[in-house]
């Protein structure tokens, strides 16, 4: 039953998979920082292009990320609508001009500047999202922990995160097992006729058993870890850590060089916006 699970690591033989987790983590962080700091449309478009290329190279499948991607899309739409409703002339302020394309309602005219600003907001989402996906689906979770540890996160924290990721499939299985058994008792989740309040009440029939059996498991896991010396020393080594290869050094260097260039390019005229209206 090797169903593809959402956002989980899948072993594949690609250039991106062979890179060390550290390299991918640095790439991911550099991408986030750069895209948070720049509003230069040209830079953002280049970043999207790079992300998409990596996406293809890493052979990431749509079904691996579809669910989360849709969720991010929803957040993005809410964000864009909220910006337009709350500050419809934000774009005009930024680009110091006002080109009304169509009157909408009082104080909410649709301007080219606002549309361009919102376009930038949208593509920012599209630069960051793929880099997260690539990082998650191409990085072995235990290597993930070791990479976080390398950039200074305490190993207890990074290990806790990776073990949580590792147990997600187990919890999902448990959830299905409990849901089935409760459904057999008559507690239906998907009943179309059930009222919302009723559904919430019924959800508790799954959540509590799930919580109790998970807590039981956590107890065992933490004892097992302690018995084998987890947390004994300040430092720890990692079996799964990949040694950095030439490809890693080149990738890291290229990533950092791009970031420096992007920030210089963005801020060279003292504004982080690219202004096509000037």
């Amino acid at each position: 039953m090797a169903a593809t699970r959402m956002l989980s690591y899948v072993e594949k033989d690609t250039f991106v998979h062979h890179l060390s987790g550290l390299t991918k983590l640095i790439f991911f962080l550099a991408w986030c920082i750069t895209s948070a700091m720049t509003y230069d449309t040209r830079i953002l478009l280049v970043m999207i292009a790079v992300s998409l290329v990596l996406f293809v190279i890493s052979k990431t499948q749509w079904k691996q990320i579809a669910g989360v991607f849709k969720f991010i899309l929803l957040m993005m739409i809410i964000n864009v609508i909220a910006i337009f409703l709350l500050s419809p002339y934000q774009g005009c302020e930024i680009y110091h001009s006002k080109t009304v394309l169509a009157p909408f309602f009082a104080g909410h005219d649709i301007t080219a500047e606002e549309l361009f600003y919102l376009f930038n907001v949208v593509i920012k989402y599209f630069t960051v999202a793929p880099s997260i996906f690539i990082f998650l689906v191409t990085t072995n979770p235990s290597e993930f922990a070791s990479s976080m540890n390398l950039i200074g996160v305490p190993y207890t924290v990074s290990y806790a995160i990776s073990i949580a990721l590792r147990y997600i499939p187990d919890v999902q299985d448990d959830y299905h097992r409990i849901k089935n058994a409760q459904e057999a008792r008559g507690i239906e989740m998907n009943a179309a006729n059930a009222k919302l309040s009723e559904r919430i009440r019924r959800t508790s029939a799954i959540i509590f058993p799930l919580l109790f059996s998970t807590m039981e498991e956590i107890d065992v896991v933490s004892n097992a870890m302690e018995l084998r010396g987890f947390g004994k020393k300040k430092k720890r080594t990692w079996y799964a850590r990949k040694k950095l290869t030439k490809a890693d050094y080149i990738s890291i260097a290229a990533t950092l060089a791009f970031m420096v260039f992007a920030l210089w390019f963005t801020y060279r005229d003292g504004s982080r916006f690219y202004n096509p209206f000037a």
């Binding site: 187990d170 097992r177 459904e183 008792r185 239906e188 039981e216 065992v220 010396g229 079996y239």
Partner: protein, 568 residues
């Protein structure tokens, strides 16, 4: 020689408990010894393990009096980390203690925590993988491994530290019988080859005795009742008195009225000197009545050519057909992954069969939803924690009726009736959290019974239960079966359960129905037992050694005799 583990007048009381769990224990274990600690649940045997590995008092707080020395140090001073260099603990839960993402990483876990360099670590992992026979699985993830393989990884994960003492906390609890046998063989090999001292805590005595142990320590109520070599111990009545099941062949010889002499080496049936007992066993066999329990009812459940596949490529079940008569008690056996749970899932409607039919009282149930099937077929999951969602007992038992919109008065009536049947009526207003594991299990069964199903399916009803609780749960199910005419299907690894309580067994192996026969005949069939990872009963060996031509008849009569004694 000085003992490597030495308890002197040692007592321990958990902080949240009113009386001590261990009372004035004095016990010496010598280097290289292999000791079995046994006794009913709550006798303190797991507590002893936690005292040795240091979890007591650092994780489980409480008061210690007396003295405990392990390899020259005191666990309470060294703590868990200090002890982890000397003592390796293999826990009961094979999934919970698999921490790494792959076999190699799990084996390396202790070394990683010790900040061993990667090159040395890889070398040591390879070496230990060799010892536990997992060399070819280094990059497998836990989901790709069987229970037995996971357990071998757990053993490797503690052996990698060059420990001197290995502790096993109920190593057989989650394994099928054949895998359990292999585990015992591996423990034995490690004990000899790696020169470690081994302590096994287990109540499945006969299975542990598949290989020699030096001594058996029997505990009851926090005290040591016996500390003897197996040959002597099996000749006494200590086990019976403490509620630990002795090997079946020993019980059979005792039933035959013989007194076993330690000199005949009763530790293993294979090598035991049977000659002095042969005549008594034979005449006992001839004097007992065979078991007769005819069932000429109609079929309650019928499965026809059932095939199922998750991915459309590999069949998890293929072409399975059988029928269950009303009022039957039936077991479904086979190793992990043989398709047992898939079968119960199909009957309950969690998955749709790829082809084939399931008939309930002669009617095809394919149009019925999970909920509709649930009114006729009740499923009880293995762990009560997977089912219980209400804080109060009566609420939990009435839940199935409440969501079906039954009136409160009628719910109350049905709940009270069910609680009376289940012996839980006096506790009806208790919170569920105040119950013992066995009682919680009964609440789960009650919550299903309240809906008055015709068929009850139980997944491992007695897993992890000691003999006393096992008997309690099984006698309760038997009562439901006999008095209410309930049809009961049980998925189990327990060969005793299958022999003692079921009329018939379905043997599944890799998705195929390998046999559909009486338990006695299945468990006296060499070839079948091996193929399906079952364990032939030792009664078979006894019958053969006594020259009885019909070993399955011998098994049947033994069970009938036992039941009669229980009822008397």
């Amino acid at each position: 020689m000085d003992p490597i583990i030495s308890f002197k007048d040692f007592s321990f009381q958990y902080r949240q408990q009113k009386s001590p769990t261990l009372k004035n224990i004095t016990l010496n274990v010598y280097p290289g010894e292999k000791i079995l600690i046994t006794g009913p649940s709550g006798c303190g045997k797991s507590t002893i393990v936690h005292c040795i590995n240091g979890l007591i008092p650092s994780s489980f707080e409480g008061t210690i009096t007396g003295d405990l020395t392990v390899d020259g140090v005191k666990p309470k001073d060294e703590g868990v980390f200090g002890m982890s260099k000397k003592v390796g603990t293999v826990l009961q839960d094979t999934d919970g203690q698999f921490i790494g993402l792959t076999v190699a990483e799990d084996l390396a876990f202790a070394l990683e925590n010790d900040a061993v360099e990667q090159d040395e670590m890889k070398e040591r992992v390879d070496k230990v993988a060799d010892i536990v026979d997992m060399k070819h699985f280094l990059h497998h993830s836990p989901s790709e491994l069987s229970g037995g393989q996971k357990q071998r990884v757990s053993m490797g994960g503690v052996l990698v530290d060059d420990v001197k003492i290995l502790l096993f906390d109920e190593p057989l609890a989650n394994l099928d019988p054949a895998t359990g046998k292999k585990t015992i063989e591996l423990i034995d090999r490690i004990c000899h080859d790696e020169h470690v001292t081994v302590i096994i805590v287990e109540h499945r005595l006969e299975d542990v005795l598949w290989r020699d142990v030096d001594r058996i320590v029997v505990m009851e109520d926090g005290q040591i009742k016996a500390d003897e070599d197996p040959d002597h111990l099996l000749c006494t009545d200590v086990l019976q008195k403490t509620g630990v099941r002795e090997p079946l062949y020993v019980t059979a010889i005792k039933h035959a009225g013989a007194v076993i002499d330690p000199g005949d080496k009763p530790q293993h049936i294979e090598t035991m000197n049977i000659a002095p007992y042969r005549e008594k066993v034979r005449s006992w066999f001839e004097s007992t009545k065979p078991k007769v329990r005819e069932n000429s009812n109609e079929n309650a459940l019928e499965v026809k050519n059932l095939t199922f596949s998750y991915d459309g490529v590999e069949d998890v079940l293929s072409n399975v057909s059988f029928a269950v008569k009303r009022g039957e008690m039936l077991s479904i056996v086979g190793k992990n992954g043989a398709g047992k749970s898939t079968l119960s899932g199909l009957i309950c409607g969690f998955n749709k069969p790829t082809s084939g039919q399931i008939l309930l009282d002669g009617k095809d149930i394919s149009p019925l939803t999970i909920k509709q099937r649930g009114e006729k077929i009740g499923l009880v999951m293995q762990s009560p924690n997977q089912m219980i969602s209400k804080p109060m007992i009566s609420e939990e038992v009435g839940l199935g009726l409440a969501v079906r919109g039954v009136e409160p008065d009628k719910i109350k009536e049905a709940v009270n009736d069910t609680l009376k049947i289940c012996g839980l009526y006096p506790m009806r207003n208790w919170p569920v959290s105040a119950l013992s594991f066995g009682q919680k299990k009964r609440v789960c069964i009650a919550s299903i019974l309240a809906m008055k199903p015709k068929i009850l399916i139980l997944d491992e009803p007695t897993a992890g239960q000691d003999f006393r609780h096992y008997t309690e749960i099984m006698e309760f199910l038997k009562k439901l079966n006999r008095e209410m005419g309930l049809t009961i299907l049980m998925i189990t690894h327990d060969m005793h359960l299958m022999l003692e309580y079921t009329d018939r067994a379905l043997v599944l192996c890799e998705g195929h129905l390998l046999a559909d026969d009486t338990p006695a005949r299945i468990l006296t069939n060499d070839e079948l037992s091996e193929k399906a990872c079952l364990k032939k009963t030792s009664l078979y060996d006894l019958a053969m050694k006594c020259g009885i031509d019909s070993p399955s008849e011998f098994v049947d009569r033994f069970i009938a005799f036992e039941n009669e004694r229980k009822e008397a």
